[in-house]
Symmetry: D2
Amino acid sequence: MALSPEIIEKINNSFKAQSMMRTMGAELSQLDTGLVTLTSAIPESCKQQHGFGHAALTFGLGDSAAGYAALSVMPVEAEVLTSEMKINLLAPAAGDRIEARGRVVKPGRRLVIVQSDVFAITDDQEVHIAIMTGTMVPIMPK
Amino acid sequence: MALSPEIIEKINNSFKAQSMMRTMGAELSQLDTGLVTLTSAIPESCKQQHGFGHAALTFGLGDSAAGYAALSVMPVEAEVLTSEMKINLLAPAAGDRIEARGRVVKPGRRLVIVQSDVFAITDDQEVHIAIMTGTMVPIMPK
Amino acid sequence: MALSPEIIEKINNSFKAQSMMRTMGAELSQLDTGLVTLTSAIPESCKQQHGFGHAALTFGLGDSAAGYAALSVMPVEAEVLTSEMKINLLAPAAGDRIEARGRVVKPGRRLVIVQSDVFAITDDQEVHIAIMTGTMVPIMPK
Amino acid sequence: MALSPEIIEKINNSFKAQSMMRTMGAELSQLDTGLVTLTSAIPESCKQQHGFGHAALTFGLGDSAAGYAALSVMPVEAEVLTSEMKINLLAPAAGDRIEARGRVVKPGRRLVIVQSDVFAITDDQEVHIAIMTGTMVPIMPK
């Protein structure tokens, strides 16, 4: 289902307002209803001690992809907060870029359950580096 | 129990080698056996869309504090990897600085179970902003 | 803070209405504001293949202890549902009985964040067998 | 890939040795490499206070399905332990039966990452009631 221009604008504005996303070199590469992908080329400033992408980079991209997936199924006036998120790390964040694909598992008025899968991509090869499951909370204006 | 100079040096070197920690403005403010605290003044570059610290900042500090707590109880030649981590966010990361206190719940040769509590601090007032529980895996040289 | 007689009665009635708790041999052994303990002698019917208590027994006691801890801080007309729960298992459920101590970390109108610690007890010796963190959702009558 | 007769026998024997699974009315309804399904008709003895299946029933089935999925990819002499498991509950366990489908996300010598999806089924209709992600640890004989 195509997203409305208002929702697309809201998500783009929110994304641009997050300095952490800029610092992480993140781009919004897919934006569909309940399905959002973020991509990053793994900046030098976001690495761990062995030169791989830091777990906080993987987490930040996966959390934001899932959060925007949740926002895409909420009313246009809603904001969203992460309430909880679990990440299982499967492999090092090593590659040309990492891609976090967030999706809505169960929408709801009070809670939205989400998942993200994160991949490290080199040329055409994908390695699954993390799975994440969490809870997003819609915040409505008073 | 006091840490050996070798372990202290190993943790300091590892910490300095993580560009993500520099980007997050993190400092190692406590380093004891099974107990490590990281502090950050919440840099402008690590915020979410409402001006609070990003969840990835809270996660990154809590994860690293817990990882170094685990490293502090391992043999000096060991490295450590996060296998999984869950975060429950309790309040916005708003304040003069945030402080992540990681500790070892159960040491082990194969797995080390850890927890972190993260606080936002303004003057002398602390707000508990996140609780984290995870699994660290010791990596021994071959 | 002492619980009101209405809340105590509500929790006792709810507890008795859970056939799973009877099957698990569970007893409500402590009931305070934001703090509830359940105890079980590990029935023969709730074991895993090596004769220890099953992870579902540990989970069930810890989840219910945390749920009743949450219920103890809600209005008397509220019900409670577990939204999510994570368990880290630290040791086998072996001993004379297991004890699950649930507590409220952060109360709230929409979400209540809880933790449980579960212990296996033999004579006077306690072994910490599980840590749990989760989210409870208050359900108000319409 | 077809499972060897030895692995099938090992899993069947382990399953029968778990009194908790009998108490939960569980049956091993699918057993493939990295993919195991357990089914239960929701016994009267495993309910919560509103007459739905208890969260411990959902957890127990999902955890065991995932554990046997992990066991199916390990050497025949290995045992398996759950190290950690997170469950997000999506809907009440109401229906004719519940079905837990466990699968291996990432096999490994030290850790096996698993997921389970749990469904409540009435006639031909499925409702997704829980998603679970966890870590299984292979235990080798000494």
